[in-house]
């Protein structure tokens, strides 16, 4: 059984973000990278499947720059068997990433029985790669899953929908499933795991190796900038009952003209 887990490396949530001078991306030199937290649930789920199917092989795949391979090393230290890195700049669009992932999975020579991903990456929050990848591979896919039960070639998944309700699906493998928080509790990479990870195979492909060209690019980023600094809040004194009407009118006026929310 071949399980592929697609992981993305994202800036640590506490990182201070600075856009590049040309606005095409963010400065990546000083960033501390972590595995996208939603992808950790996907890795953990793959390892849980492997625990009850010892013959299963878990491959982690990532598209991104090589400078730091934190996410892949963490996944292998947690217990994944091997890894594939498709070398690319970090600001690719969702379509190119999905196509690169497809190419990498195919190039590995292993036929996927299951592909697991996080439901979204916490940096660009595009929520597109899982669905685009499933479409490209012509696989059934379910996203935002919080429950997972594999029996034979069917996975029963629970998916969160609005209002806190759950949808239950029975999906035949091969399939693509995208994890949400609550699916499981990701394990730590243990110290022996970190040591072992160094010896695990990490294949490295270029974008052209996996059939991705500039023409595949659907979205180009041009204007990264920080959100405007929040101005200080305004306080209104309405303790004087006689003036309350006047103050309320003033607040309503400002909400219309300044905040433009009503």
């Amino acid at each position: 059984m071949n399980i592929f887990v697609c992981v993305k490396q994202v800036p640590d949530t506490e990182t201070k973000i600075t856009p590049t001078a040309d606005g095409s991306f963010i400065e990546t030199n000083s960033i501390k990278w972590i595995m996208n937290p939603y992808d950790e649930f996907a890795v953990e789920q793959a390892l849980l499947v492997k625990a009850s199917n010892p013959a299963a092989n878990v491959t982690v795949v990532r598209v991104g720059s090589v400078k730091d391979t934190e996410a892949l090393r963490t996944a292998m230290a947690m217990g994944a068997d091997d890894a594939i890195l498709v070398e690319a700049q970090d600001n690719l669009d969702s379509y190119s990433i999905a196509k690169a992932l497809k190419g990498a999975i195919e190039k590995s020579g292993k036929k996927p029985d299951m592909i697991l991903t996080g439901k979204q990456a916490i940096d660009d929050d595009a929520l597109q790669v899982p669905q685009v990848l499933a479409q490209m591979l012509d696989l059934p896919s379910v996203s935002v899953i919080v429950g997972f039960e594999l029996s034979g070639s069917t996975v029963k998944v629970k998916r969160e929908i609005e209002g806190g309700a759950l949808e239950v699906y029975a999906v035949n493998t091969p399939c693509l499933l995208a994890a949400n928080k609550g699916l499981n509790t990701p394990r730590y990479a243990s110290l022996p795991g970190i040591m072992k990870a160094k010896k695990k195979p990490l294949a490295q492909y270029s974008l052209s190796d996996v059939g991705v060209t500039d023409a595949d690019r659907r979205v180009k980023y041009s204007g990264f900038r920080l959100p405007p600094e929040k101005p200080a809040g305004k306080k209104f004194d309405a303790t004087d009952a006689a003036k309350q009407k006047e103050v309320v009118a003033q607040v309503v006026g400002l909400l219309r003209t300044e905040a433009k929310v009503i």
């Binding site: 230290a77 730590y188 990479a189 243990s190 110290l191 022996p192 970190i194 040591m195």
Partner: protein
């Protein structure tokens, strides 16, 4: 010359810090308040390979260098200095076996610590002698096919949970340090009587007790080295453990600085954040300077250990400087937090209480200076 950590060391540090942030920091104040021993968290850290870092690979350990060990210890202490005291006490007790034991003893006593979660205690100090460690009164007598230990030990970390004790005892107090022996004692041996848990100022989660040995019979093969080798084993152990203890102070100091920086950017006084006031900036600058210097000393002391070069002088510099700095830094952290810092609602008063102990245990700051002077003047 290389100042950076290896990729592997960075990963080890990240794991230990993640463990501190997720598992230790959220509960440390509660364990401190209740004086509760964090056995489950201790075990969880053991499962991840963060405990007993001194056990060599050939006996089932991870084969960490002394430098790896201080990196782990700093990161765990960042979570809680008290928790780290319990964690480190295992290493302190196992180090005499690593350094002074024969192959048979290492297999017998170290390997079980790698296959199951076990707790160990180092028993040197006595009610009547702390800094004057060679003045041990606990006696060891030849009982024919076994040794017999009698005496009382004090301030024994992990005592209430110890599966194994390493006990220092003397053949004859008149022999001074030449009469001291180091013995490995199974925690379940008859005649070991535990005192009550000490109610301490800081490190309240760590289990500290007096331990009485009443005619405790120990197999002959449990003596480390030869009769009379105990003193050199103890001193060798302290050379290895001082960088570790220093790194515990460093972890606490780093936490105090991180909290101070965060708070000084949030708290507004005179219309601007505290961080804009030069008086606060000076305290924070001082913290950064002392932390960096502590880390360099600690890493050098551990590096010397790994090179097999005698590190007594540098290890004492590291231990005294890091613990004195930690005391100053945590005191200033309380100062920066002001009234809030003095309240248990905020995390810095605990750091200040915890810092004090590191100036005292494993050789007081004053004893460290005696060691330094002895090394410098010899």
């Amino acid at each position: 010359m290389e100042f950076g950590l290896t990729q592997e060391q960075i990963e080890i540090k990240e794991l230990a810090l993640k463990f501190s942030r997720n598992e230790i920091i959220p509960v440390a104040a509660q364990f401190d308040e209740e004086g509760k021993f964090p056995k489950d968290i201790f075990k969880k850290a053991w499962e991840l390979g963060l405990i007993n870092t001194c056990i060599p690979a050939e006996y089932g350990g991870a084969g960490f260098s002394a430098l790896d060990s201080v990196i782990i210890s700093e990161a765990l202490s960042y979570g809680c200095m008290g928790f780290n005291t319990s964690f480190m006490a295992n290493d302190l007790a196992l180090l005499p076996i690593v350094l002074g034991g024969n192959d048979e003893q290492k297999k017998k006593f170290l390997t079980p610590f790698t296959t199951e979660f076990r707790v160990a205690s180092f028993c040197l100090t006595e009610p009547g002698n702390g800094s004057d460690a060679a003045g041990i009164k606990t006696s060891v007598k030849d009982g024919g096919d076994h040794w017999i230990i009698n005496g009382e030990k004090m301030w024994i970390t992990n005592a209430g949970y110890a599966d194994l004790f390493v006990v220092y005892a003397t053949l004859d107090p008149a022999l001074k340090h030449k009469g001291i022996c180091a013995l490995v004692v199974d925690g379940k041996t008859e005649g070991i009587v535990l005192g009550k848990k000490e109610d301490k100022m800081g490190h309240r989660s760590s289990d500290t007790r007096g331990v009485r040995f009443n005619n405790v019979k120990v197999p002959k093969e449990n003596m480390l080295g030869n009769p009379g080798d105990g003193w050199s084993i103890a001193m060798n152990t302290l050379d290895h453990s001082r960088p570790l203890v220093a790194s515990s102070a460093l972890g606490g100091a780093q936490r105090a600085m991180d909290l101070s920086i965060q708070y000084s950017k949030e708290r507004i006084q005179f219309g601007v954040p505290l961080a804009k006031h030069q008086a606060i900036q000076f305290m924070i600058a001082e913290m950064g300077m002392k932390i960096e210097a502590s880390r360099l000393l600690i890493h050098k002391a551990a590096w010397l250990c790994d090179q097999g070069i005698r590190n007594t002088e540098i290890a004492s510099y590291a231990k005294a400087f890091a613990s004195d700095s930690c005391m100053q830094i945590t005191t200033d952290a309380v100062q920066i937090y002001g009234g809030y810092g003095y309240s248990k609602e905020y995390p810095v008063e605990k750091l200040m209480r915890d810092a004090k102990l590191i100036q005292i245990y494993e050789g007081t700051s004053q004893i460290q200076r005696l060691v330094m002077a002895r090394e410098l003047l010899k």
